[in-house]
Structures are given as structure tokens and as C-alpha cells.
């Protein structure tokens, strides 16, 4: 049971990292990033492949963050001059491109067969509860650092500019500041967080295939921040926790209500999440933790 709870904790915190990146990008800056999973995938594959070459895991994780951020840079250059909705389409295209490249470049990624045997973190401790708790503790520290960094950014002159960009980009230009530069930086920081999340994911699951990096990952992250309260760090945490607990918890519905086949159960879970999301945006659009702009 403890091992199961630790596992849930790990999954939640990995997704919190993703949500924190999107909190900065969308919540604070207004960037509609529908391609978050692309950065997650780059981080996961980069770290896994490097680790299998015997590179120390710390360096693998740093590489995951750096590569994910670098991959976001050209997206920013190409598309940040586009209108919001076109930007959203381009980012979705980015993440799908990443997934298709991973699927087809078999020499590097082993295609749809995926990469088995990705080294675990703290392998020396073994695979039991102690190792899991060590991973969990590491994630807690990393999430706290990420949250502190985002908090620092949000409360700074930089944070003020990105909020101004979200409210009115043209006015920012008229006042002598180039929004594109700020948006590219935000995109890269958010991507770096997603990259680190991807690395944790790869080394925790130990077996990665392209199918794990579909758009649904991006949209779960969106749901999490909408449920929690867009733009709030606490919202990213609470929203992710609730969403993940529900996704996990609904596995047990079949014990309570017997007679539903596993495949239909998956659809029911998605349906329930959809309904919950509709109810949320209808009755509590500011999210559980409230609208952060009301200070």
C-alpha cells in the first residue's frame, strides 16, 4: 500500500512539473501552448538515451531540460508573431511532429518498440519502497525549486511585463518593449520544466514508447491548471493532484460497481473528467484556488 501511495505521489509530482510550466506560459503570459507534451517527450527520450550510454543521471536530467528548452526556441522564433489561435495550432503541430519523429527515427529511438530498461534513479537502493521514497523526495525538492523559481519570476519586473503582454501585447510594443523576446524566454523556461518532468517519467516508468506522448498528456495538464486555478502555483499543485487522484482512483470503481469491462471503464473515466471540466468552467471558472489577479 505504501508503495502504491508513493507511486501516486511520484506521478502527481511529475505532472505538477508539467503544470508549473504551463502556469508560467499560459497562466501568466497567455501563451496557448497545446504542444507541452512535445517538450515532455524530448526530455524523456533525451535523458533515457543518454543514460543508456552510461552518462551520469544528473547530466541526463540537465540535458533533458536544456534540449527541451532549445527545441522550444525555434518554435518561439517562428510563431510568436502569430495570433494566439495560430500559435496554439503551431504548438500542437510541434508536439505531434516530435512524436512522429520519435516513432520513425528507429535508429535512435527504436520506433514504436520503444526503449526498455531505462535506468532507475537510486538503482543502488534497489526497486523497493526505499528507492521509491528517494525518488519521491527528489521530486519534492525539484518541485519546490521549480515553484520558487516561478514565484520569483512572477513577482519580478519580468513577471510584470509578461502579465502586461497577456493583457495587451500591442500596448507593450507601444511602450518600447519587444513582447517576442519575453515570450520566447517564457516558452523556453516552461519547456525546460516539461523536459525535467519527462526525464523523471522515463527513469521512473523505465520503458518509454511514442504512444505515451500523445496530445492527451498536454490536455491533462490543461485540465489540471483549469481545475486548480489558472496562473496560480498552488492551483497547478491542487489541480494536478485532484486530476491524478481521480484518474487513479477511478480504477477502483470497478470494484464498487461490478460488471463494467476494462475498455469501457477507460471511456467512462474520460467522460466523467469531461463532465467535471465542463462543470468547473461553468460554475467555478477561476478554479479551486481562485483567480490570482484578484489580490
Amino acid at each position: 500500500m505504501e508503495a502504491y501511495l508513493a507511486a501516486i505521489g511520484i506521478v502527481v509530482l511529475i505532472n505538477v512539473l508539467l503544470a508549473l510550466g504551463l502556469t508560467l506560459q499560459y497562466g501568466r503570459t497567455g501563451l496557448i501552448n497545446f504542444g507541452h507534451v512535445g517538450s515532455f517527450a524530448i526530455g524523456a527520450y533525451a535523458s533515457a538515451l543518454l543514460a543508456l550510454q552510461g552518462v551520469p543521471l544528473v547530466i541526463c536530467f540537465i540535458a533533458a531540460a536544456v534540449l527541451a528548452a532549445l527545441a522550444a526556441w525555434p518554435i518561439g522564433l517562428i510563431s510568436l508573431r502569430l495570433r494566439d489561435d495560430y500559435f496554439a495550432i503551431v504548438t500542437l503541430g510541434f508536439s505531434e511532429t516530435v512524436r512522429i519523429v520519435i516513432t520513425s527515427e528507429r535508429w535512435l529511438t527504436n520506433g514504436i518498440q520503444g526503449i526498455p530498461g531505462v535506468p532507475r534513479l537510486y538503482e543502488r537502493i534497489g526497486v523497493g519502497l526505499p528507492a521509491q521514497l528517494a525518488v519521491l523526495a527528489t521530486l519534492v525538492v525539484v518541485v519546490l525549486i521549480a515553484a520558487a523559481v516561478i514565484q520569483r519570476i512572477a513577482k519580478s519586473p519580468f513577471g510584470r511585463v509578461i502579465e502586461a503582454i497577456r493583457d495587451n501585447e500591442e500596448a507593450v510594443k507601444a511602450l518600447g518593449k519587444d513582447p517576442a523576446g519575453f515570450k520566447i524566454q517564457v516558452l523556453m523556461v516552461g519547456a525546460a520544466l516539461a523536459g525535467v518532468a519527462g526525464a523523471f517519467y522515463a527513469h521512473y516508468i523505465t520503458y518509454i514508447v511514442p504512444d505515451q506522448f500523445g496530445p492527451i498528456v498536454t490536455f491533462y495538464t490543461w485540465m489540471a491548471i483549469i481545475i486548480g486555478g489558472v496562473g496560480r502555483i498552488s492551483g497547478a499543485l491542487v489541480g494536478t493532484a485532484i486530476l491524478m487522484l481521480f484518474l487513479e482512483g477511478s480504477r477502483f470503481i470497478k470494484d464498487v460497481i461490478p460488471g463494467i469491462p476494462e475498455i469501457e471503464m477507460a471511456s467512462i473515466r474520460l467522460g466523467v473528467i469531461g463532465i467535471a471540466l465542463i462543470l468547473f468552467v461553468t460554475y467555478r471558472p477561476q478554479g479551486l484556488m481562485g483567480d490570482y489577479t484578484r489580490r
Binding site: 519570476i153 519580478s156 519586473p157 511585463v161 495587451n168 500591442e170 507601444a174 518593449k177
Partner: protein
């Protein structure tokens, strides 16, 4: 800062929004542009501030062609515009709207956030001081900590002017500063503009509404259908039969 607009044209499809427009403004001028709706005034502003490219002609700031400069570079070089419909950063407070407008802040660099906190704090203190004096100057101190989205239309126009002032402009382009503003605030705004002008800041003001503008500016130009049809002192220009025909139309 002197401004020269020379033979600027801009068409949208077949519609000539600007048709060979020329204007000369000396440094520190106080100049108005009037004209009926659709005369091309706002297009002229958009072209001057770099939000729209001109089809032909040139725009010179202090004698230098600025055709290739992005809007933010033009603002940087001292020519700052406001918008007809106020574009306040509505989730930010009035004070934050002004703080964010200060140029060249150390804390706008992500690396600096983690390496130079002391310098950022000093910057913030200095900017906060500037903001306080602008808030007082514009009589916005009482609403300083309200979200700017909750201001009245007139207060938003004052805020737009305040944000422009934060950039230390040499020339301010005001797009219909009096539209939708109550008479008391119009008087205040007029007085502020005049005072700033005596400090050497140039103003180019577009207005649809004549009465406030003609009292403020010593010189103006009249636009109609993309062309400048008259220019000179307000009293003289408004007597011009061509202007009366175009601007006042059927009313006279």
C-alpha cells in the same frame, strides 16, 4: 524631437487611407490633426508608430528615416503613442501599469533575477519614485492600487498618458485623448498636456471632437479622405470653406 512625414501613402485594397500625406513637426511642437471619421487619422498614427507599414513615402525622426524600425524601437527612440480605445493592462493596478512601462529595467532579464537582486531592488525603488510623481501629476494617486480595468474611461486616458510619460518621451502621439472623457477630466487633461509641453515634450494629437482640441493646439492640420486639406492656426483653418465643406458637411 522633430518629426517629418513625407509623401506617405497607405492603401487597404482599393481604399486609399493615406494619400500623399506630408507633415512637419518641430521639436517640442503642440500640433493637432482633425478630420471626420474615416479620414485616415488613426492610420496615420499606426504608420508613424510602426504598427502598419507605409506603402510609400518616408518618416523621419530628427532627420533619420525610421521606416525599418519596429514599433518598440520607435518608442525606444522617444516617440510614444497612445491608443484611441485605452489599452490598459487591466489585471495590473494603476501603479503596476506605470511601473511596467519604465524602460531598461534590470529585472526584465531572467538571469538578473537570480544574480542581481540588489540592483533590481534599487531599480524598483527609483521607478516607484518616478511613478509616485506621475500619479500625483495626473491626480491618479487615489486609484493607484486599483486594478486599472476598473477605472473610468477618462481615468484610463490619463493612465495611457502616464504610461507614455514613463518612457521619457520627446514626442507623444495621442490618439483621441478626449473621446468619451467627461468635461471636468478634459479640462484636467488639457492642462496637463500644456504643462508637459512647456517642459519640452512635443505632442501630436488626433481628435475627432473639435472644441477641446482647438483650445489646446496653436497649429493643426485637417484630414479628409486620406489627404491633408488644410493646415494652420485653428481659427483660420476652421474658417476655410474647403474644411467647412469636408468636415462639417451637411451641418453648415
Amino acid at each position: 524631437m522633430s518629426l517629418a512625414v513625407r509623401h506617405v501613402s497607405k492603401a487597404f485594397g482599393g481604399f486609399r487611407a493615406l494619400d500623399d500625406v506630408s507633415l512637419e513637426l518641430e521639436a517640442g511642437a503642440l500640433f493637432g490633426v482633425i478630420g471626420p471619421n474615416g479620414a485616415g487619422k488613426s492610420t496615420l498614427f499606426a504608420v508613424m508608430s510602426g504598427f502598419l507599414p507605409a506603402d510609400s513615402g518616408e518618416i523621419l525622426l530628427d532627420g533619420k528615416d525610421i521606416a525599418g524600425l519596429a514599433p518598440y524601437s520607435r518608442a525606444h527612440s522617444g516617440m510614444v503613442r497612445t491608443f484611441q480605445v485605452p489599452r490598459e493592462f487591466r489585471h495590473l493596478t494603476v501603479r503596476e501599469n506605470l511601473m511596467v512601462s519604465a524602460p531598461g529595467q534590470t529585472g526584465e532579464n531572467l538571469i538578473n533575477l537570480f544574480t542581481r537582486p540588489g540592483q533590481i531592488r534599487r531599480d524598483e525603488d527609483r521607478i516607484a519614485g518616478e511613478v509616485r510623481s506621475i500619479l500625483e501629476f495626473l491626480r491618479l494617486t487615489d486609484v493607484a492600487d486599483l486594478p486599472s480595468g476598473s477605472l473610468s474611461g477618462g481615468q484610463k486616458k490619463l493612465l495611457e498618458l502616464g504610461r507614455a510619460l514613463m518612457v521619457s518621451p520627446k514626442l507623444v502621439l495621442l490618439d483621441e485623448p478626449f473621446a468619451g472623457v467627461n468635461p471636468v477630466l478634459i479640462a484636467a487633461l488639457t492642462e496637463r498636456i500644456r504643462e508637459l509641453n512647456t517642459r519640452g515634450i512635443g505632442f501630436l494629437i488626433i481628435e475627432h471632437d473639435l472644441s477641446a482640441l482647438t483650445k489646446l493646439v496653436p497649429q493643426l492640420a485637417v484630414m479628409d479622405r486620406g489627404r491633408i486639406i488644410a493646415r494652420g492656426a485653428p481659427g483660420k483653418v476652421l474658417e476655410d470653406p474647403v474644411v467647412r465643406e469636408a468636415y462639417l458637411g451637411g451641418a453648415s
